[in-house]
Amino acid sequence: MASVVAASFSKFGKREEDVFTIAGESASPLVEKYGEEIDFVIVSNAYSGEYNGVSGLNNLLTTYLGMDRVPSMRVDNTSGSGGSAMLAARALVESGEARNVLVIGVEKMTGYPTKKSTAIIASLLPPEERAAGVSLPSLAAFMAKSYLKEFNPSRESLAMVAVKNHHNGSLNPYAHFQADVSLEKVMESRIIADPLRIYEYCPVSDGAVSVLVTSDSEAHSYSSKPARITGTGNASGTSSVTARESFTSVDSVKDASRVAFSKAGIKPDDVDLAELHDMASVLEIVESEDVGFFRKGEGWRALETGETALNGELPINASGGLNSKGHPIGASGVAQTAEIYLQLTGNAGRRQVKNHNIGFSLNMAGFGNNSTAIVYEVS
């Protein structure tokens, strides 16, 4: 079995530095401490070609880190890159191909006009949707409209995802946004794709995060409290959103989660905290249902009761999530793992949750074209 034994963040947000400097900021502490032991590097990154004019980022980055002879590869699965990178790291360790894998998630996205950035990200959509002028925010808007019609939640319950996650982000020194936002402010903010407003979407961010993955047999020589990866699931659904049965459910989320829980031998109810892929507010709610934490159509109630708040029974996105921590695309899935590691080891500072034995992360590619679910446990 593989374990996460160390994690290191760069600050997320609008950064002046280049992609190498940002990646180095997160990786350097781990390279300095474990450099001689690392025998594989995985770089999770989706858009270095489009945003930075850089290809072969993994090779350039290992040279930048002074690890020229360490084997490496880049994993690109759009916004699901980080989850896929963790799957690859686990497979390398468990197969014996590598002993200690450094996973670096990084993206440098700011500095482009918003429309250009929206087009780069929309390039993951199937041609029939791109040709209709669809962007990722518009798919979330269709999901929100359908959810509101089908399940009749209060409109405010969707906005409360942003309130909760901005609060959590305000306690996370690495988060893009460092301030609370009121429900009124969310509800009065600019509409981006009707009915969703700007505070309900993740920002375009720069950032990097690194984790060290090693085998169970070696884990205790690196950390007194390793986070074991006890279950993983990866699943795909059709890329074409119009071909799906419903706007209010994502098959790949359901399938990946079911497999991960089955491998870990636990139920959704056993999870103490979760990081979900809240690219838009409504996605956190829909995913919380598809993962199995709540019954379909009832995930929104947890926002009103506080069940998913930092001090609730099942804190979701204690890190601030994509919504507040930010969404440097290639880094996001790795950042979920890093956050769970910090929480499970009791090192999450002011955002530390009370129960922290079993963690769960759900990283989604595109608009659910693919998902990776991971269960982590400490003993």
């Binding site: 006009p113 918003t114 429309k115 250009k116 929206t118 087009a119 929309a122 199937p126 041609p127 029939e128 949707e129 791109r130 040709a131 209709a132 002028g133 669809v134 962007s135 925010p137 518009s138 808007a141 269709f142 409209k145 359908s146 600019r190 509409i191 981006i192 794709a193 009707d194 009915p195 979407y201 059709t238 959103v241 119009t242 071909a243």
Partner: protein, 96 residues
């Protein structure tokens, strides 16, 4: 507007593909669709480069039951019958 139809299971796609996602058949042939009904629409500000700064996107069902997104050239309400067009500005819908 043209589309492709699986000759085995009848599933339809707006863009050609090698193999039917539903049944695996590789026997896909071209057809033509004209009208659709708007099921839902949203107003979009976060638009991609090369498209206008804001517009409505509609989720429509074609006369033969295929679900499609299209960009509306003017504001139309759900239930409206529209004509689907594919041209240099992409896939659009106009009121009939």
């Amino acid at each position: 507007m043209d589309f492709v139809k699986c000759q085995e299971c009848g599933r339809e796609y707006l863009f050609s593909r090698v193999r039917c996602s539903s049944c695996g058949s590789m026997d896909l042939k071209k057809g033509e669709i004209f009208s659709a009904r708007i099921l839902e629409r949203i107003h979009l500000i976060a638009t991609p480069d090369t498209f206008p700064d804001e517009y409505d996107v509609a989720f429509v069902r074609t006369e033969n039951g295929m679900n499609v997104f299209c960009r509306l050239e003017n504001t139309l309400e759900p239930g409206t019958i529209v004509t689907l067009q594919r041209n240099a500005s992409g896939i659009t819908c106009v009121g009939t």
